[in-house]
């Protein structure tokens, strides 16, 4: 199965990966090779088969809604690349009006 350059660009944008030109070219070849192998699953007639998302059939795991200690915000923010006033700091998200 082929994968064209446009699809590589689209997927890189969805995945938030600022790939270089070289990386995109290489990725296109490698993904095509891997997808050809993965294509094998298309041989099977699977219309009546129920998908398995998980090997353990647990559903709706509940616990009592009790207050318990959580992480100290200072400890958590200590790992942030940038923080200010007890919050994570990020570059501009909204353009000036």
């Amino acid at each position: 199965m082929g994968i064209d350059r446009q699809a590589v660009d689209h997927v890189a944008r969805l995945a938030r990966l600022d790939l270089s030109e070289d990386e995109r070219t290489r990725m296109q070849e490698e993904l095509a090779q891997i997808l050809t192998h993965a294509e094998k699953v298309q041989e099977l007639h699977l219309d009546d088969v129920v998908p398995t998302s998980h090997s353990v059939p647990l559903r709706n795991v509940m616990r009592p809604d009790e207050v318990s200690p959580s992480l100290d915000p200072q400890d958590v923010l200590a790992n942030a690349p940038a923080a200010e006033d007890g919050r994570f700091k990020v570059p501009r998200i909204i353009e000036d009006a």
Partner: protein
């Protein structure tokens, strides 16, 4: 002082109880051995010798007071760097997490420390556990103690390189598609993939959540069982952990396998790419199981051939979602960018290695509009077929036996340029991950082709670890290899 390095953890535990040696002495021996070999094998990403010795001192004090916390109190252990350790840097082998110091312990780490086990440090791995050789580590590969020009396997290759070189008696690894069993096989050790849900995933950095499971690396089967005992059991912090009591894995482990029914998989016989030396050793292993009283029976896993294809759709799909959290905002590195999308995209391009980017791309593609049903949806249905294959096989047998890896340890660099060849390393291990079954790799000697270790894999039903350990232990004791000098790489 008695010999420490090449003895099993349970023998060391007995020596501690008899007062022949202290935990501080045992821990010190492994720290010195680690320092001696790590320049060659590069198993460690971060060693914590002071912490280990302090914890060992605490264990010796408890022993004096007769207040031991567990059978493994005072036995040191090391962790794959995928387990979070409070106050100790954790990277999952990725540059994107460089500099991160977790504010909490993984449940596996917390339970081992609560059992009195000193922490030796954090071990190398393929980045985010994606790989079969440790060559995808952001910090350079580990080397196989049997031959420093070869890979230790992966992704838990730091764990098996260290235990294989007697730098630690025990280590924790993790599996998604064979990442404990395959490197254990390549380093001449025991590696376990417990039933999915048996060991808590809390604090285990996520790769593919429906497949990820922690597993012990050890020199002997009984050691692996003892280490699993410490961490297994329900954890309210992991909603997929199984709320069942955990049996005593060592109880009855030496009761033999007389009358046990063991399945040999028809489709695995002379599977493409299996080395003759691996096949020879594994065939001998089947005969030994029969000699020990088991009956061998041919079983069929007809969907086996589709396992790898399904796995390499499901695992990247889940990874692409799990790895969305590395965005340069809350932890790890950040690249500059004048708006948030550029900042995130550059951070992820600079921080992730090639294999991780490849799998994020593959997974994003497989989940994207128009392709979801054809790829991810179909792969999940194949997962159902593989689970059914196992269920049908277990109607007539108690265990399934097969090779762990089609080859012995391969050369560093040999498969780096060929992602698909690397993926095929997992061909025999992936089915148990897809079905959630318990599985173990146990050494069956050296390959006549190249003198490197070969592993026998035993796959049990979900939550039937006891049968699995009993059979693997009977095989290991009868073979006697691990007790012989031949099992010690000349490093």
């Amino acid at each position: 002082m008695p010999e420490v390095l090449w003895r099993s953890a349970l023998e060391l535990s007995d020596a501690l109880v008899r007062g022949e040696v202290s935990s501080v002495e045992v821990t010190q021996e492994f720290i010195e051995r680690s320092e001696h070999v790590d320049g060659s094998i590069h198993a460690y990403l971060y060693a914590t010798p002071e912490k280990a010795l302090e914890q060992a001192g605490g264990s010796d004090a408890r022993r004096k007071d007769g207040k031991l916390l567990s059978r493994l109190d005072g036995i040191p252990v090391a962790y794959k760097d995928i387990f979070t350790t409070m106050g100790v840097p954790t990277t999952a082998g990725s540059r994107i997490l460089e500099g991160w110091t977790p504010p909490y312990d993984a449940t596996v780490v917390a339970r081992c420390e609560a059992a009195g086990m000193p922490t030796l440090g954090k071990l190398n791995m393929d980045e985010f556990a994606m790989g079969s050789s440790t060559e995808n580590s952001g910090f350079g590969p580990s080397k196989n103690p049997w031959d420093l020009t070869r890979v230790p396997g992966g992704s838990s290759g730091g764990s098996t390189a260290l235990v294989g070189a007697a730098g630690a008696p025990l280590a924790w690894g993790t599996e998604t598609g064979g990442s404990v069993r395959q490197p254990a096989s390549l380093c001449g050790l025991v590696g376990v993939k417990p039933t999915y849900g048996l060991v808590s995933r809390y604090g285990m950095i996520a790769f593919a959540s429906s497949l990820d499971q922690a597993g012990p690396v050890a020199r002997t089967v009984a050691d692996a069982a003892a280490l699993l005992q410490v961490a297994a059991g329900h954890d309210p912090r992991d909603s997929t952990s199984i709320p069942e009591p955990v049996p005593d894995y060592l109880e009855g482990i030496d009761s033999g396998i007389d009358g046990m029914r063991i399945g040999i998989v028809k489709e695995f016989h002379r599977a493409e790419g299996t080395q003759p030396g691996v096949e020879a050793r594994v065939e001998e292993a089947y005969q030994r199981l029969e000699k020990l009283g088991a009956s061998l029976e041919e079983v069929s896993l007809p969907s086996f051939d589709y396992g790898i294809s399904a796995y390499y759709l499901i695992a990247p799909a889940e990874a692409s979602s799990n790895l969305a959290r590395y965005d340069g905002v809350r932890y790890g590195m950040r690249a500059e960018g004048d708006d948030i999308v550029r900042m995130m995209s550059r951070t992820r391009d600079e921080g992730f290695g090639d294999e991780v980017k490849r799998r994020i791309m593959l997974g994003t593609y497989a989940l994207s509009a128009g392709y979801y049903e054809a790829y991810y949806g179909k792969a999940q249905k194949v997962r159902t077929l593989i689970t059914r294959d196992f269920e049908r096989a277990y109607e007539s047998v108690d265990l399934i036996a097969c090779p762990t890896s089609p080859t012995t340890a391969f050369e560093l660099g040999e498969r780096v340029a060929d992602p698909l060849a690397m993926y095929l390393s997992d061909i025999f291990t992936v089915p148990a991950n897809l079905a959630g079954n318990a599985a173990i790799s146990v050494p069956c000697g050296l390959s006549p082709d190249d003198g490197l270790p070969v592993g026998l894999q035993l796959i049990a039903k979900s939550l039937d670890e006891k049968t699995m350990f009993r059979a693997a232990h009977a095989f290991e004791r009868d073979l006697g290899w691990i007790d012989s000098p031949e099992s010690r790489p000349g490093l």
